[in-house]
Every structure is written in C-alpha cells, then in structure tokens.
C-alpha cells in the first residue's frame, strides 16, 4: 500500500527560477503514473523531490498520508532508476544487485538467493560475474531496474529509463516494463518527454509545462480532451491540428471563418456550447489529424485544401494540406495512399473538434479546474 499525494509542492532555484509551481497530484496505490513534458517542465525536479534528492521550497509530500518532506532519502524506501542508470561501474553485476540488500544488513545467504532470483527475472543470470562496465546499454538498463527492485520498494520512480535504448529494444522494454509493474505491484512514477511512451505505459498521465500541471488524466482523456493547446500539441504523432479562426454569427447560426480555407457552420451541441463560452471571436480550432477525412468531391461542408505533400510512414500516410496561410495535417490508415487529386475537401467531424481561447490557449466550454483534472487530485 503506497499512495503518493503532493500538496502545493513548490520548488524554486534561486530567486527567479520556479521549477515546480504549487503542484497538486494524487498518485493512487499500485498505479502507473507518467510525468510528461518537455525538458525544463519540472517533471524531474518533482520526482527528485518525491525521492528526497531535492528539498521542496514549499508544500507537502504524503506517502499514505504521512508527510515525508523531512525524511532522509535513504529512509523513504523508494526505488529509483536513473536516466543514465547510475550503475556502480567499479562493481560486478552481482555486487550491483547485492548492494541494496547488503547495506540494509540482510543475511548473506538471503542476499545471495535474492540476487540470483532477480538476475533470473531480469534475464541477467549469465552476466552475474561480469564487471558492470562491460555490459551493453540494454543490459545496464535491466540491471538498473533489477538493482532497485531487489529491495522491494513500495514506490518505484523511473527517470526516462528508455531514452538511451535503441528503437527496437525500447519497443520491447515498453511491454516488459508494463509486465514488471503488473508482477511487482508497486506504485510507479515514470518521468518521460516521450508522449508515445507515456500513452502506452501509463494508467494516468500528468502533463507538465514550465513548472505547472497542464492536465492530469488517463491517456484517453488527455488525448481526446486536451485541456489546452499545449497538451493538444504535445500529444499525438503527428500532433493535433490547431487552426486560427474567427467566430461569427449569421442568420442565427454560429460559424467559424478559417481564412482562405473556407468556413464551417457549427452544429455539434458541445461545440456550440464551447463557442458560446468564447469571450472574443478569435479562437483556435483543434482537430486530430486522424479525425480529418480527405475526399475529392463532396456536397458536405468542408474546407477546400491543396495537397502539398504525402508522407508514407508504413501503416499510415500523413497528408499535408494547405490553403493560403492555413495548414493542416490529415492521417489516413492506408499505406501509400497517393490517389488524391491536387485539390481536395477536408471534412472535420464536429464531435471531435475542440475550441481553444486564442489568447490563453485553454479549452472553451470547460472550467480550467475540470479541464486540468484537478478534482481527481
């Protein structure tokens, strides 16, 4: 049982740098939570504070309700996997695995049994008597996880553990990590800048930028209902289309003017509600590339676009569309679809469209609090 609760957690470096700004987050027991954001967003600082490597400037860190801010890191009992693995390179693989048990004063026979068991789980048995400096990156990564897992921490923190691996092994380790989490049944906090990793691994994702929590929710929530343009642009590959447009009403209907690309009549009730919440006519229309369908001829209302470029990426094809200053991406679940005319119509399903305030970037029609997902925390 280990639930982590952060309350108003703040970290300043010097007078001017606010690394983490009053962060509230509830990480439920045995959940896999990803802290996701670009470099400098405060995710690693947050994790270091949970581990106790760094002292918060303000706020609380509660493990199962008990504040641990004043507790030394070696007493908190968290497992930590460093981005560069921090393997003790003067020791053998065996000695690395045995380090935690030994300093915690386990009996020699128990240490030996546990080390061999962990080596088995991590598939390192035939490397046990190697100097750790001779391991490959992939093996170092497994050793780093094994070394932390061996002392059975209830909280497991991982700092970008996959970022140094080659693509194929990374794909494999993604699944492997999930399996390990199911087996160890620990609360896992995972720091990453890779949205694909976060999406595929985590039960919940906390998206951060510039020290602030942008959104907290399940991968599906984050992907389908982004709280603001930052989240919309950060998630997905390719990212969500964000189109500058103007709201206006004509003959009792609400319309969106999209520059040279044309205009759209708003019909979807949720979208209409969002439009009504707009304080100014300048809004940003957000729509996922895979929701956009590209057709050659249609009677439906869509946007007139020119096909600029096709990017085939195996199972899918990215279609780059433009019209004047408006640019847009569409993704088709087809291989090498090259059959499009030069001029096409892009159809946007309104149920999958979002409106954002052009100035603040926050989604319209939902309160910022509910958009961030604070009520979960």
């Amino acid at each position: 049982m280990a639930e982590i609760r952060l309350e108003g957690l703040t970290k300043r470096f010097g007078k001017h740098v606010l690394a983490v700004n009053s962060l509230d987050l509830l990480i439920p027991d045995k959940e896999f939570v990803a802290l996701l954001g670009p470099s400098g967003c405060g995710k690693t600082t947050t994790m270091n504070m949970i581990a106790g490597i760094e002292q918060p400037t303000g706020g609380k860190i509660l493990f199962d309700g008990a504040d641990v801010v004043r507790q030394a890191p070696e007493k908190r009992g968290v497992g930590f996997v460093f981005q560069n693995y921090a393997i003790f390179n003067h020791l053998s693989v065996y000695e690395n695995l045995a380090f935690g048990p030994k300093v915690q004063g386990w009996k020699a026979a128990e240490v030996d049994r546990k080390v061999k068991e962990m080596a088995e789980l991590m598939r390192l048995t035939d490397r046990l008597d190697w100097p750790s400096a001779k391991l490959s990156v992939n093996e170092l990564q497994k050793l780093a996880i094994g070394r932390s897992a061996i002392v059975e921490p209830t909280i497991f923190l991982l700092d970008e553990p996959l970022s140094n691996l080659d693509a194929a092994f990374r794909e494999f380790m993604r699944t492997e990590l999930k399996r390990i989490q199911h087996q160890l049944k620990q609360t896992m906090v995972y720091v990453t800048h890779d949205q694909i990793e976060a999406m595929s691994l985590a039960d919940r994702i906390a998206v951060m930028d510039l020290g602030n929590l942008q959104q907290y929710g399940t991968p599906a929530e984050i992907y389908n209902k982004p709280a603001n343009t930052f989240v919309a642009n950060f998630m997905g590959s390719p990212p969500m289309n964000l189109l500058d447009c103007r709201l206006f009403s004509e003959d009792g209907a609400m319309l969106l003017e999209l520059g040279d690309a044309g205009r759209l009549t708003l019909k979807d009730p949720a979208l209409l509600q969002a439009a009504q919440a707009a304080k100014r006519p300048e809004v940003i229309l957000g729509v996922r590339p895979e929701a956009v369908s590209v057709v050659d001829h249609t009677d439906e209302e869509g946007l007139d676009m020119v096909v600029d470029l096709l990017e085939p990426i195996g199972p899918r094809t990215i279609i780059h569309l433009r019209q004047g200053s408006a640019e847009m991406l569409a993704v088709e679940d087809k291989r090498f679809s090259s059959s499009h005319a030069a001029r096409v119509t892009a159809l946007l399903p309104q149920a999958e469209c979002h409106l954002f305030d052009a100035e603040s970037g926050w989604v319209l029609g939902r309160s910022p609090e509910s958009a961030v997902g604070r009520e979960a925390a």
Partner: protein, 356 residues
C-alpha cells in the same frame, strides 16, 4: 543536378569491409535515402562520394565521369554532417558565407547569395546570431544553408536531424522534403530511422554489413521486402515473424495452429512475416479460420493502438485504428490472412513469396 554512381566499390579497414562491392546509382533530382543499422557502411558510402576515403576497388562516378581519384574539393558536392560542424565563433551569416570566401568569390556577390539562401530556409532574421544562440532546429538549417550556398551539383547529408527532439524531427523532415522538391537537386541522405527514410525518400537503399540488400521506392521496400532483414528493419511496430516449416506445399507454423498453402516451393524451414496492421482481431469463434488468442498488453497511442496478442507462447503485435477497448487477458480471435503473408527462406532469409 547530377547523377552519382558507385561501380563495384569496396573499402576495407583491415579485414572488415565497410563497403563491400556496392553498385549504386542515384538519379538526377532524386531524394535518395541510405538506411541501415549503425555501422552498416552507410556513412562510408557518403565518404566515397565525397572523396574523404578512396575505394580499394571499383569506381566513383559523378555525372558519368570517373572521379575516383579526384580530390574532394574538385567534386563539387555539398555536405551536411550529423554534428553540423558549425564554427562556433562565427555568426550564422559568416558560417554560411564561409564556403564562398574559401573559394574567393567576389565580396559583392557573397552577401546577396547568402541572403537568398537564408530566405529559402527561413533563417534570414538569424544571420547575425552565433550558433550558440540558435535552437537545434535553427542550427540545423544554418548547416544546410552552408551546404546550399555554393549551389553544388548534389547534396549529401549524414543524419542531419538525428540530434533534434522527436517533434522537431517530424517537422524538419517535411521541410527538407519540400526544399528538395522545390530546388530540384540530387540529395543523398543517410539515416538509421526507418520512419524518416520512408516518409521523405523517393528511393531507399537498405544496407547491411557493407552490402546493399535492396533498393526501391518506400512502397516497394515496405510491401515487397527482398529479405527477412528488410521486412524487419522497415515498419513500426516491427513486422511479426512466425517460424515454421514448408512441406508438401504447405507452411506449418511452429507453436500455433496456422497452416497455409504455398505451392511449388522447396521444402525446409521458413518464416512467415505479417505486418501488424494486417492482423485483424475478432470475437473468438466469430467466423471460421480464426486463431484463438489472448490479449497480452494494450498500448493506446491515441490515433492508433498497438495490441500484443498471445497465441500460446508466441507474441504477435497488432496495429489497430482508433482506440479499441481491449483488456489484458481477454480472449480474441486472430485473423492471419494468407494474402498478407510474406514467406522467407528459413536459412538465408530470401523472400520466397510476397503478400498479395
């Protein structure tokens, strides 16, 4: 405007063949990618074209002319290196002007030419800044501008965007593609990223251990891989491989109930390969011919979902559109359609039969 050619070119370092009798022709105005795992010899091929190394055997031709023993500076090629190699003490503008000054262009012609190139690459406002003051993407464009400014016959690029972060790589590769399309120059581009190679190249050469395994359009390499290696290297998630045996005109998979008819092929071990997006999941027993399987792990990626499916001890990856709701442990019926299966020889990995 140039064709680049290697004829039977080899380069050895000691007993290791960096390039092993390679024949290669890059056509005029072509965006040509050389793709392969680390140290497969792709960079050595660029160096052969540039003249930084000389082949032990074979010839290098530019526009049909033998340049094997010509010095690099007489070959008139532009190069962008992975580490960009910008001079840190010179402004972006000076960096771009450098090749012209080196070749003693008249001063009056240098400035307008630099301006012109900078405009093409949208870096005109950055010319007075030092490399250290630029972002990764901007530095990369300055390096490209420096290669463009001389207007050489062709450009060679060695993983020029590998150091950028994922999002920037996606946008920069599109810009490169546009640039090459608009300038109509021959471009040879080395990368180890299959998605990059697929998305921007007109043609791709796939290398392994100093040899070229297959040359073709992205579509050809993806849909008709010449060997099992190519099938594995191209595509993400990776292609699914099922080991088995060919006997009496049928392929029998090892460890799972799958039997497909392949007439007229030699008997022996063989491998079936099927793309993750070609696997279809149904309710178990919904239609005849489904393989009983179980969901092992689900990776939602937003626009699509990767599902690991377990058939007995074998794990297969399926790439599904949208966000289907599957849970680990759930029973499913897996459709492995024969028209989607490539068949490779179990010993040398040659293709025996392509998917339809």
């Amino acid at each position: 405007m140039a064709t680049l050619e290697l004829v039977g070119a080899s380069k050895h370092y000691g007993t290791i063949a960096a390039v092993d009798s390679v024949d290669l022709r890059v056509e005029d105005n072509e965006f040509f990618c050389i793709f392969g795992p680390p140290s497969c010899g792709k960079t050595s091929i660029l160096k052969l074209f540039l003249g930084l190394i000389e082949p032990d055997r074979g010839q290098v031709l530019i526009d049909g002319e033998d340049v094997t023993h010509k010095r690099p500076r007489d070959r008139d090629l532009g190069m962008v290196f992975q580490n960009l190699a910008l001079f840190p003490h010179l402004t972006a503008g000076k960096n771009i002007a450098f090749p012209l000054e080196e070749r003693r262009w008249p001063k009056a012609e240098i400035a307008p030419r630099v301006e012109q190139v900078a405009k093409t690459l949208h870096i005109a406002p950055l010319l007075r800044k030092l490399p250290a003051q630029l972002s990764g993407g901007e530095r990369q464009r300055v390096a490209i501008a420096r290669a463009l400014v001389r207007n050489p016959k062709a450009y060679l690029m060695d993983e020029p965007i590998a150091a950028l972060d994922a999002r920037l790589r996606e946008t920069t590769r599109v810009e490169l593609k546009r640039l090459q399309r608009d300038l109509k120059h021959t471009l040879v581009y080395v990368t180890h990223d299959q998605e990059e190679a697929m998305s921007i190249a007109d043609r791709i050469a796939i290398m392994r251990d100093g040899r070229i395994v297959q040359v073709g359009t992205p579509e050809a390499v993806y849909n008709r891989p010449a060997t099992r290696f190519v099938a594995e290297m191209v595509g993400s998630p990776r292609i699914n491989l099922l080991e088995g045996n060919l006997a009496a005109g049928r392929f029998e998979a090892a460890g799972l109930p799958l039997s497909l008819a392949f007439e007229g092929l030699p008997e022996g071990p063989a491998t079936i390969a099927i793309r993750p997006e070609d696997l279809a999941l149904h309710a178990p027993g919904a239609e005849p011919g489904l393989v009983d399987a179980e969901i092992y792990e689900v990776e939602p990626l937003g626009g699509h979902t990767v599902v690991d499916v377990a058939v007995g001890e074998t794990l297969l990856r399926a790439h599904l559109s949208g966000q289907p709701d599957y849970r680990p442990g759930e029973a499913v019926g897996l459709r492995i359609a024969q028209q989607h299966c490539h068949l490779f020889d179990g010993k040398d990995g040659r293709v025996l039969a392509h998917a339809a």
